[in-house]
């Protein structure tokens, strides 16, 4: 019987999409399958799958000529460019391990990463080549390639393919090692969306390749489905070129979706190009208000759940109108269970561990292969998942009871006048209490004195408090004028 996701695709398309367990096999498959279709574009030049795979093959030859051994690390630093995608495919299809470095890393951090991960070669885009010239490894230009192609390597599906930094809202960044099978499972799962998907979509690309959401759903799944991946020089340029790109799909974080909605309100729906059908939104909570606003202009905003350690995609929700706060159903290839409220999963998409950190790995992975996500989840009677908090964020009350701050924050997000909020412990008169900081949507308070804005949210807190057990009530309210500190994916940082 077909599952939730398989039912989204027409039968003839579902029959064509098979799980390909390694990136070398994937590169060969897309070259044969989508040969003459357009694959990658920088908005000026567009390259077919055949051209891209030829460049990938010649980049493989360039890397092989540097004397690398299987499993050696090759770091890549660039903006979201055609060459960076080709280099990632070249590194991983040649049997080396790719590390896509975040483009905003300062030079000392780049050097530190190269040392920490034992990077042998660093491929740098033109904007970065001068910055990285002193890196403790060989440096090549990202556009470099040999005259002749090299064949793909033979790798095992369990071999490491790439290392991603886990940003997260808590804790220090770690390097999560993803094997070929995980990246490819995530990439296949990203192909499921309502209606025809193969060889027909134009994706405007606004996410960094250093994040699993940008690399897996926003790039690999696009190539899996024979789509056209389009990125201008930077996010602003890509968005400003929407009327020319005319994307049919977009993969984005909610913050980018907010910007697009702001532009629609200023210049009309046509600013998005007129063809946009759906947006896959993730990496942070997707506000139901945003889903409703996009629905009003005929664009579906689909939410989901995933984490770096699970190759990006664990669940997805296309029924956002009926269940706007759910992160959807579980993608194929995984087993899930809820243990003491915590979501555990295992499957092809699971990572191998944190680089050089077996202790941290053992903390999150059981000996029989379950990943303890640290997220508190529940399922409704139809199998839709809801994330209700993070274990690490739990507040321990004086009575010993654990409270998830996210579960207290959740009712506040139903308020259209609130942009973000953060519940945490705070000290009042020497006693630890539950406190909330609220960032208003200031556009909703035109010409309103600040005292009235504060009063509005204090009244809201009173209303929510009335629904909470007495031990969970918020005792301190701060209404913020300035934005929260945010993570790289624009989540509110809890640190």
């Amino acid at each position: 019987m077909k599952n939730y996701f398989e039912n989204m695709l027409p039968a003839e398309e579902l029959a064509q999409l098979k799980y390909i367990p390694t990136i070398p096999e994937f590169v060969t498959w897309i070259e044969n399958k989508w040969h003459d279709l357009p694959a990658l574009s920088d908005t000026v030049n567009t390259y077919t799958y055949a051209q891209v795979c030829d460049a990938v093959a010649r980049k493989r030859a360039m890397l092989n000529a540097m004397g690398l051994a299987k499993g050696d690390k090759v770091a890549i630093i660039d903006n979201t460019t055609v060459e960076a995608v080709e280099m990632f495919l070249a590194v991983t299809s040649a049997g080396y391990v790719a590390i896509n470095l975040p483009a905003q890393l300062p030079a000392p951090a780049i050097v530190g990463c190269c040392m920490k991960f034992g990077v042998k070669v660093l491929a740098a885009g033109p904007a970065f080549i001068e910055t990285v010239k002193d890196a403790p490894c060989k440096v090549v230009a990202i556009a470099d390639m040999a005259d002749q192609p090299a064949p793909v390597a033979v790798v095992d599906k369990d071999d490491a393919a790439a290392i991603f930094f886990t940003g997260g809202t808590t804790g220090a960044p770690k390097g999560a090692i993803l094997p070929h099978r995980a990246i490819m499972r995530g990439s296949l799962n990203g192909c499921y969306a309502p209606g025809k998907q193969l060889g027909c979509h134009r994706y405007a690309t606004v996410l960094p390749l250093s994040h699993v959401f940008g690399l897996i759903r926003s790039t690999m799944s696009v190539l899996y489905t024979g789509g056209l991946w389009i990125a201008a020089a930077n996010v602003k340029e890509t968005i400003s070129k929407f009327p020319m790109i005319r994307p049919t799909c977009l993969v984005a974080v909610p913050g980018i979706c907010e910007i697009l909605m702001g532009l629609v309100k200023m210049y009309g729906k046509q600013f998005l190009g007129g063809n946009l059908r759906f947006i896959i939104a993730g990496a942070a909570n997707v506000p139901p208000k945003l889903i409703a606003e996009f629905d009003e202009i005929g664009i579906s905003l689909f939410a989901g759940y995933g984490m770096t350690e699970g190759a990006n995609l664990t669940s997805g929700n296309i029924d956002v109108k009926e269940r706007p706060t759910s992160v959807g159903q579980i993608y194929p290839g995984q087993e899930v269970k809820v243990v003491d409220g915590e979501l555990w999963f295992r499957g092809d998409n699971l990572f191998l561990g944190y680089y050089g950190d077996p202790e941290k790995t053992a903390e999150v992975m059981t000996p029989d292969g379950w990943l303890k996500t640290g997220d508190l989840a529940r399922f409704d009677e139809d199998g839709y998942m809801y994330i209700v908090g993070r274990i690490k964020n739990l507040i321990i009350l004086s009575n010993g009871e654990n409270v998830s701050p996210e579960s207290i924050e959740e009712p506040f997000y139903k308020c259209d006048k609130l942009r973000d909020c953060l519940v945490k412990e705070d000290e009042v008169d020497g006693k630890m209490v539950i406190a909330i900081e609220i960032l208003p949507r200031m556009e909703e308070f035109a010409n309103t004195p600040w005292e009235e804005v504060e009063a509005y949210f204090k009244k809201l807190v009173d209303e929510v408090n009335a629904t909470l057990p007495t031990t969970h009530r918020i005792c301190k309210v701060t209404v913020r004028k300035e934005d929260f500190k945010r993570t790289g994916t624009m989540k509110v940082s809890r640190n």
């Binding site: 930077n234 996010v235 602003k236 340029e237 968005i239 400003s240 913050g255 980018i256 907010e258 910007i259 702001g262 532009l263 309100k265 200023m266 210049y267 200031m442 556009e443 909703e444 308070f445 035109a446 010409n447 309103t448 004028k481 300035e482 934005d483 945010r486 624009m490």
Partner: protein
């Protein structure tokens, strides 16, 4: 392009992005972040709106601290 016209154009954009702002107090010395409360995403939106209104492109996103610096840049680059 007159400086006061650019300021008025900028105020029109700010009014759309943040209707709650008291625009009568906006002048050359107004700080984008600490006075207007613009976050990184709003600054990206502001950059796109300025480009659209004044018909030029920033290199990357807007990296100025004050309204006066933005006006200087617009006068220098706008068509």
């Amino acid at each position: 392009m007159e400086r006061k016209d650019v300021l008025e154009g900028l105020k029109e954009i700010l009014k759309l992005i943040k209707p709650s702002l008291d625009l009568s107090t906006v002048n050359d010395d107004t700080q984008l972040i600490s006075d207007l409360g613009l976050d990184s995403l709003t600054i990206l939106l502001l950059s796109l709106a300025i480009e659209n209104k004044f018909k030029f492109k920033f290199e990357g996103t807007l990296k100025f601290n004050t309204v006066g610096e933005v006006i200087d840049h617009i006068i220098k680059n706008a068509a």
